[in-house]
């Protein structure tokens, strides 16, 4: 266990206890050891990264530290005193606050109301004006700019995150825990966040930063603790770490993030005719606002088109448009030479379009139904699962077994609800199910979200396999690195429009970052000028 000898920050005075010390923490869930024998020390003035694959026990450990879970064994020592937290309220009273990955704000309330909600220091009777004034004061003193009077649902995700952080810091937190904080931010918003975090720790506080993005962990943290399978495998000063070394610690063996753009010898070449073509397509939401604006796009067979952009810039709508779940307000969609502008999702599936949706539990699966029911959702209407109007449960079970085998998912019981499978297994299962019908196009929205490195690699191999078979693939992702490794071309979306499409070979990641922020690809000179 290395002490923070190599950090650039001022070291705490001798005799200062660590702000947070966890000793021998263990937590068990049904059939799972979530944490076992975990030690962790966090010192004043440090940003401590907690790194690990999904299911490595990072969130459980932090939920224990913040009083959401009780440990089955071990001690929590804060500032040298042994503590036990029965609830997050007690943890925050001891100076430990957490900003969760999914914000816990009341969307219909203003920023000021959210800051003061459930806070003992909120006066019993107070006018909205005073509440906003108090918030503005807090915002100024903690150097986190927010708009006190704005309703939360008007805010961008970056602003919402600032509100969450302000909410925690206003309660005099000395340890701020952030769970995947940059997942929802643009690169510039992330930089602002990092700046704020550095200021916060410079005042003698500490940050615990949960992530599985290696590059940003290396950029922001002072020390890194790696968890694997619920155990702590290492704590190292960041200056002694490299990406390959961390990846190896995380997965337990060396992983190769290779260039997947290279075709195999038997691969079908990229088709000249596009499998899908969008012609000046506009999609309006219920209030008439254009969520997709004048999109024209061709996707060839045997190519992978990456869609980059910050979440919420029309990617969801684009994926729904390409799979028939949403009808265009104007414009034309061509699929294999046929106009499908007015067709529905079932027709698209029949035409050979597979869809790995953004949120598999909410739309790709019926979580409470059996594995078998979920397996046949694409093929229930044709033999062998159906003969005429009749549904054949046995044929359905056989198909479910076939898909599970192809996905290498162990299913103990095909009639158990599919929500009992782990997230990674669900995703592989959905992917395999969709690959069966995707003869022309596969649309995958955030396919690696919530997956660990191993499962992401499997997913990428699936896409390559399908591409080499001549299918067109659209991958929507926030991970630029993933898109660079995988796609032949990258289209960047901003406010429902495509800012430009670039060939991945020779593309500049910084320029794509600028396009994500709303710059057009057509003015490279200006884009370059912005960089310098």
């Amino acid at each position: 266990m290395a002490m923070p000898e190599v950090t650039a920050r001022p070291r705490p005075a001798p005799g200062t206890p660590p702000l947070v010390q966890l000793r021998g923490i263990a937590k068990y869930f049904p059939g799972v050891v979530a944490n076992q024998d975990v030690d962790l020390e966090v010192w004043p003035g440090e940003i401590h990264a907690l790194l690990g694959e999904n299911g490595a026990g990072k969130s459980t450990l932090m939920n224990i530290l913040t009083g959401i879970y009780q440990p089955d064994a071990g001690e929590i020592i804060i500032d040298g005193y042994l503590k036990s937290f029965a609830s997050p309220v007690e943890a925050i009273a001891a100076g430990i606050g957490m900003v969760h990955q999914h914000f816990k704000l009341v969307r219909a309330f203003t920023v000021a109301e959210n800051i003061h909600l459930g806070w003992s220091e909120t006066p019993r009777r107070i006018s909205p004006q005073e509440l906003e004034a108090r918030t503005a004061q807090l915002s100024a003193s903690l150097n986190l700019a927010v708009r006190p009077g704005a309703r939360v649902d008007e805010l961008s995700t970056g602003e919402q995150q600032r509100v969450e952080i302000l909410r925690v810091l206003a309660r005099k937190a000395r340890v701020l825990i952030l769970d995947e904080p940059t997942a929802v931010l643009t690169p510039s918003e992330a930089r602002e966040l990092f700046k704020a975090l550095k200021e916060f720790v410079a005042r003698g506080n500490a940050v615990i930063f949960i992530s599985h993005k290696l590059d940003e962990v290396l950029e922001i943290s002072d020390r890194i603790t790696v968890l694997r399978g619920g155990h702590k495998v290492a704590t190292e000063p960041t200056s002694a770490c490299s990406e390959t070394m961390l990846a190896k610690l995380m997965v337990g063996h060396e992983i190769v993030l290779d260039d997947l753009r290279a075709r195999g010898p038997n691969a079908v070449a990229r088709s000249n005719e596009p499998v899908v073509g969008l012609r000046e397509v506009t999609v309006r939401d219920g209030s008439g606002h254009a969520v997709l604006n004048n999109i024209s796009l061709d996707i060839a067979g045997g190519e992978i088109l990456g869609i980059a952009g910050v979440a919420g810039n029309g990617q969801k709508e684009l994926s729904e448009l390409l799979t028939g779940m949403r009808v265009a307000s104007s414009g034309q969609i061509m699929l294999g030479g046929r106009d499908v502008s007015a067709s529905g999702a079932a027709d698209f599936a029949d035409f050979g379009v597979g869809h790995i949706p953004e949120d598999r539990l909410r739309s790709g699966l019926a979580p409470a139904l059996s594995v078998t029911d979920n397996a046949v959702i694409r093929e229930y209407d044709r033999p062998p699962v159906s003969l005429g109007p009749w549904y054949r449960p046995r044929a359905a079970a056989a198909l479910a077994r076939k898909i599970a085998e192809a996905a290498s998912v162990m299913v103990p019981n095909y009639s158990m609800p599919i929500r009992n499978l782990s997230g990674g297994n669900q995703q592989r299962f959905v992917a395999r199910r969709e690959m069966r019908i995707a003869t022309k196009l596969l649309v995958a929205a955030y396919p690696s979200r919530g997956l660990d490195v191993g499962a992401i690699n499997t997913m990428m191999r699936y896409f390559v396999e399908l591409r080499d078979a001549g299918v067109g693939i659209v991958v929507i992702s926030e991970e630029l690195e993933e898109l660079f490794n995988l796609s032949d071309r990258i289209a960047v979306m901003f406010h429902g429009e495509i800012m430009g499409i670039v060939d991945t070979a020779g593309a500049d990641i910084e320029r794509i970052g600028l396009m994500m922020g709303g710059q057009r690809a057509t003015s490279p000179a200006r884009a370059a000028a912005m960089v310098h």
Binding site: M325, A349, S363, G364, S386, P389, Y391
Partner: protein, 350 residues
């Protein structure tokens, strides 16, 4: 060795069934203790109930008459649950079905062989019409069917009171507050039990089969479990919602028709005997299974019949209501507890 309690995401069927049996037993024991505290002799009463119910053909026939409407109202609620809708209005649809069937019987002349099927169809349509507005309101305006179906119960109840004591009052004047005796009876099946009983069983089996062995049933299963997934797969959620809810109403209407034409023979206020509300409990006891409804209805019929016997022994009617409440309460606890299992694990290795 450390002993820990684990909560499983889903209970195994065998344990769930055992938990139910224990829950029902515990509810009966609790009821017995309460009766004992009130000065009654629960064991003697239990013996009396068992003897009167299972000791004679008459007792079983009584249960058979009660179980018929309960299967159908339970089925009505269970069917609606398949698409994720709570039909609290089986009571009202029951009245509407009985009302429509009676109207046909009173005002259209014809031989029984024509009239009984016609009354059956009228009963189904009556129930269907009664759930039509809640169905359309839910499908097109997302109005909660819970409230609308519930409120229409009172309308149907009062409507039947009105016609039975007013315009359709028995001109012969032999009975107060009922219509004339219907000219056509559903023939008897076994003893006093009319053919409505096998019809109800058959409807439960057919419905269960339709959900398990047709493409339509599969689509309803997906759409009811997750409308988003139905949209994703391109299944018409709204159409399924409308069809299934109307079916649910029609089944409750059939229950009303069978009751008036098979058991009571006159339309009168209070004819539903709360069968519509008890149907909700039957469906919950059956965990929404269409076949399970038969077992749930049988249990409920035995309890209702026991209540009638207990009354002859001087026990208050509300005691029976309390017993049904206790059963539901204990079953809910049992269902939750069935998710837990106790495991012993080795102490953690360092």
């Amino acid at each position: 060795m450390a002993i820990r309690v684990q909560r499983l995401p889903s209970a195994s069927p065998a344990i769930a069934l055992a938990a139910r049996a224990i829950a029902i037993l515990l509810a009966l024991v609790t009821a017995g203790l309460l009766l004992a505290a009130g000065g009654a002799q629960p064991l003697k009463l239990a013996q009396q109930v068992l003897k009167s119910t299972f000791g004679s053909g008459f007792g079983l026939e009584d249960v058979g008459l009660l179980v018929t409407p309960l299967i159908l109202t339970g089925l009505s609620v269970a069917v609606a649950l398949r698409i994720g809708a709570w039909n609290i209005g089986a009571e009202g649809q029951f009245y509407a079905g009985a009302f429509a069937a009676t109207g046909v019987a009173l005002f259209i002349p014809g031989p029984a062989i024509v009239m009984l099927p016609l009354m059956f169809v009228a009963g189904a349509l009556g129930g269907l019409v009664w759930i039509l507005v809640p169905t359309l309101a839910r499908a097109y305006a997302d109005v909660s069917e819970l409230i609308t179906t519930l409120l229409l119960n009172f309308v149907a109840t009062l409507l039947v009171y009105y016609v039975a004591t007013g315009p359709w009052l028995d001109p012969g004047g032999h009975a107060l507050g009922t219509t004339a005796r219907l000219k056509h009876d559903i023939p008897e099946f076994i003893g006093m039990v009319h053919w409505g009983f096998p019809i109800a069983m058959l409807l439960a089996v057919i419905t269960a089969a339709a959900f398990s062995f047709t493409r339509w049933g599969y689509e309803v299963r997906i759409a009811g479990s997750n409308p988003q997934a139905a949209k994703y797969a391109g299944m018409p959620f709204r159409r399924h919602l409308i069809v299934v809810m109307l079916l649910s109403g029609a089944i409750a209407g059939i229950a009303g028709m069978l009751e008036v034409a098979g058991t009571v023979h006159r339309l009168q206020g209070g004819i539903s005997n709360n069968f519509g509300y008890l149907g909700i409990m039957v469906a919950v006891l059956a965990r929404g299974s269409c076949i399970g409804v038969i077992a749930g209805a049988a249990l409920m019929a035995v309890i209702l019949n026991s209540g009638i016997i207990l009354q002859t022994q001087g026990v208050n009617t509300s005691t029976v209501l309390a017993i049904t409440g206790l059963i539901l309460f204990f079953t809910a606890i049992g269902d939750e507890l069935a998710h837990f299992r106790i495991v012993s694990s080795k102490p953690a290795e360092a």
